[in-house]
Symmetry: C2
Subunit: 396 residues, 2 copies
């Protein structure tokens, strides 16, 4: 998948950098982990520091010094999940900032404006993330809104996407000390997506390894807007949603409204039913998943992109994902364990630190605890996907 | 200064790694900053995770994966500063853990036992850090205790130092991805200290640059115990303390009981009076200082070693030290400042991130804020000392 800021090999797992930072991880370490695309949260960045400020600073890539790809969600999910008091109308959603209670209004047009100002490579349509459980009529009404909003999102996006704040020709300030660091690749102006048979992964090329810092030329390059399939847990609503979105002809499609409390079997079912309805020659993205075994499973089903706060959030709570399963590093049994978190992991944490030390850091509430735990979990997730891409089955 | 775990060029500033971690900074980044020696706090590590556990794990170097040098304080300062209810007798100090209120007893012998178990390169005598202000008779009594304790510290240390838990021949697990990473130098078994005229700094040699990981041979190598000069702010008591310690013949000497609330002119005065009483051909260490201009000043006076939580603690509060003076990164005026924290700093933070982004991270209470601020402040301090060593005057 060729984006303006990076070439992405799929299937891919995208670390979440909510407020312009993947929590506790400096960007150069993200690069060392070979993360190629991360998420930014439109809702959070809109509230603080604000999309206009970020636009003036040249966009989110420059602001946070992340030269690879960024996908922004639409803000829809947080508007609903972080705000008890909200007022939904056909126009959009009125809500109060969780930071200071001030009043705000999000609409498809406004969400597009914010995402374009942030300058993401991929923006998401403004949708209503249907809650779970929802009865049929509720899911029906929610879907009607989402479809109207999808159309409005696309209209506004197409009209204004050229306003993205990428310098036409700009040298990014940061110098990666490592030649193998982040980089920019120029390759076409449209989103280029190459599908491969799972059994024959795309060859990593010289072009997309060892990307170097350098002068960037974004002339003519545009961000892409993906549509989001909703419809609750109802097969027919999901079908309708997928078909209507495909009619609108987006460059990529996401399945939203999952991981909202439903049992895992249902998640799987909805994905299994919906995925085939989306064009296989365009990126297909399941939002908000999942556990390591889930992402392997969904990737095998044909999902190209996934994101989840799980590896990063769990890390800060001491839950580490390893080839031997999950472990809670706070556990007393690790107090004198000299081994690495994961004996089969070659990440910078497992090569250097013992479980005993990681446990101590958590017990002592040291800031380094979050840093190291997060680095490992992200390495585990990214390596898991790398193996999937190489056609090796990873059991979680 | 050649220690078992590293060659240290002096004057040197030692970052503080209180509970086995320099807060928020992974060890490999400490190595990138070229920190050669850090502090560990005996009091904290004794309480958690415990010196016996660390001894069993092969010592603090192995436990925290820091292959360079470690100096441990005696625990004396925290015993007094963190504990309102404490009972001092000639034997030692009874106190309660600030963690869980449990009762503990520290004596010179016990402090030595803990520091030997931790396996520091340099241990400090167990002293009573005289509070400020203290009248003459109080400082007198405190000094009497400290001198008795210095003698007991030395006796116990000399008898048991060989019990340090360094493997006689051990390959440290961590692999530094960077050839220029941490390393171990074998050079004699005693503390070797080379003094130089400030105008002619010791040449950095091939031997002490680009230290490599490798097989360590600690056979015959021993830790060193430094004595600590007390005496409050009284010239004659300080003189007596210095002379009595020199009689005991320590391999290095520290001036303690400063930065305890006294005005800076008094700090300077005490250092100026005491330093010449300590042998110039042995390391002279002022504990707990200071601001950037202070450490430059004291280094010019002949101080070889200093430590302070200031760069790291201030960082976590948003106070950055720069060539243009101190700045509070939280300040609104930085909200759109595209420039680096310090235009004259070449550290990994200033090369990559803007003041606006650093400010955003603080405002958003992102964990990365502490990481980046700390990396910069440490780089600033270490670079300040490096310039001093090169004979270039650094104005703070």
């Amino acid at each position: 998948m060729t984006l303006p800021h990076a070439v992405i090999e799929t299937p891919v797992f995208m670390p979440v950098g909510t407020a312009g930072s993947v929590k506790a991880v400096p960007q150069h370490l993200l690069e060392e982990l070979d993360a190629r695309i991360i998420l930014g949260n439109t809702y959070h960045l809109y509230l603080r520091p604000g999309h206009e400020l970020i636009r003036r600073m040249g966009g989110l890539h420059r602001f946070m010094s992340w030269p690879r790809a960024i996908l922004t969600d639409s803000g829809g999910f947080q508007v609903f999940s972080l705000n008890e008091l909200r007022k939904v109308s056909e126009d959009g959603v009125e809500f109060r900032s969780h930071l200071d209670g001030s009043s705000h209004f999000f609409s498809p047009e406004h969400s597009m404006e914010v995402q374009i100002a942030l300058g993401s490579d991929i923006a998401m349509a403004f949708d209503e993330c249907t809650e779970y459980p929802a009865d049929y009529s509720r899911a029906r009404r929610s879907l009607d809104l989402t479809l109207k909003w999808a159309s409005r999102s696309k209209e506004h996006f197409e009209k204004h996407k050229h306003e993205r704040p990428w310098d036409e020709s700009a040298e990014l300030r940061a110098q990666s000390s490592d030649e193998q660091g982040a980089g920019i690749r120029e390759q076409g102006t449209e989103l280029a997506f190459e599908t491969t048979d799972m059994g024959h992964p795309a060859e990593p090329t010289q072009a997309n390894r060892g990307l170097k810092w350098g002068t960037v030329d974004f002339e003519g390059k545009m961000p892409s807007l993906f549509g989001i399939v909703q419809g609750g847990m109802y097969k027919d609503l999901r079908r309708e949603s997928a078909e209507r979105l495909v009619e609108m002809d987006f460059p990529g499609y996401a399945i939203g409204g999952l991981s909202v409390g439903e049992p895992r079997e249902l998640t799987r079912e909805v994905i299994a039913e919906t995925l085939p309805l989306l064009p296989a020659d365009k990126p297909r993205y399941v939002m908000g998943v999942g556990y390591p075994d889930e992402i392997v499973e969904y990737a095998a089903m044909g999902v190209d992109m996934m994101d989840c706060v799980l590896p990063t959030r769990a890390a800060r709570h001491g839950l580490l994902f390893t080839s031997e399963g999950r472990l809670n590093i706070k556990n007393k049994k690790f107090a004198q364990d000299e081994g690495p978190a994961d004996p089969e992991c070659g990440c910078m944490v497992c090569r250097r630190y013992s479980r005993a030390y990681l446990r101590h850091l958590m017990a002592a509430q040291e800031p380094l605890s979050g840093v190291l735990n997060t680095l490992h979990n992200l390495a585990f997730y990214l390596e898991t996907m790398r193996k999937v891409r190489e056609g090796i089955e990873q059991s979680a």
